[in-house]
Symmetry: C2
Amino acid sequence: MSIGISQATVQNRTMSLRYALLALLTAQPMTGYDLAKAFHISVGHVWYAPDSQIYPELRRMEAAGLVDGVALPWGDKGTKTEYHVTDAGISEFVDWMNLPLRYTRERDPAHLKAAYFEWADPDAVREQLRAHVAHYEDQRRQWLEQLESIRDHTHPIFAKRLERYPSSEWPRITAFKMFAYEGLAARAEQEIAWAQRGLRLVDELAGESAAD
Amino acid sequence: MSIGISQATVQNRTMSLRYALLALLTAQPMTGYDLAKAFHISVGHVWYAPDSQIYPELRRMEAAGLVDGVALPWGDKGTKTEYHVTDAGISEFVDWMNLPLRYTRERDPAHLKAAYFEWADPDAVREQLRAHVAHYEDQRRQWLEQLESIRDHTHPIFAKRLERYPSSEWPRITAFKMFAYEGLAARAEQEIAWAQRGLRLVDELAGESAAD
DNA sequence: CTCAAATACCTATGGCGATAGTTATGGACT
DNA sequence: AGTCCATAACTATCGCCATAGGTATTTGAG
């Protein structure tokens, strides 16, 4: 019995939304709306979720005792709910962080299509490969931006998080976050290179059939 | 109006299961069971789907006129349904092949966790990174195997598919398929390299804090 | 020749996710 | 004072996907 394991280890799927929310809430208490916003400028780059999933998940998490919902007045008669992580929430998060991931099977529309490109017009293939390049160039740019703002601690939510730690811990925390984003940037570069190889391939094949 | 577009361009999500099935059925008519098997040794490497999705999707596709279901006797009283692509099915598939993809937002549990690795024990981090390496080494191996069997035309389903084309077309078809799998193999290598960088990072950080 | 195991075929249920809403508040401009 | 519009908070619906079954047929071992 080396590591304490919570009883709720059922964990059907990855359930990553839950842990992404917990991760954000360890920085500071937030309302559902704040979380949705924070998502988009932070974890959202690594795990996207729309509001419509965040609100119900927060309620489920409250039912599970992972967060406390505090009703705050909003306007004259309305209320909004601000969520605070509980100790149980922290411990669930730490458990998840220490448990290995379950890898899910590959499911990649872009490569699926590529495997059947002989069915498409060469021009349509080119267009799709160029779109692939454009998409991952955009991703790459975003990730590099994140990387910069993490490196120099101008990232608002990340800065907030660091405040809760002694500055001796900062390099460690910063290093891991940069590591994650570097991996994503490298992946984007790989995808760009792949699509560009594809563009050359289409040209070659067009050349050959023209030479027939 | 350069490209004929079918009226059913609603296409909520990627709907890739449908097109993966059509792709397989363009090689030969099959039953749901055959398709499930074919899936695992062919498209399955690029788009996984369990039987429980394949059967209902086939029925939906039949309702949409993309495939014809032919009831064949199975045993004494049973029947099984063999599906054949219709012309409408082919044209739907070609349309999809010619249309650009809609890219979905990033959602990656491994990188999500990596961004918060400061919450986990260094040993747990190492274990997870090693699992990441192992997982992608396995994937890489599988993809390289596919690549080989496509290159030398020993892949059973792929060989069947080639039979329907004049041999002058073979290089083109083979090239695209190899291109797709090469991309996946390259991605796997990228992931392996990333996780190994992570392992070095954990060692460095452990060294620093030990030196404190 | 019969029984178990493997193969073939198919279904049910429930969670997660995406799109698209709805209702409420605070300010800005006229 | 009224009406826009942006912000904030939250809900509904529907399709995909995964886990987990369930029933029929063939094979083959004893």
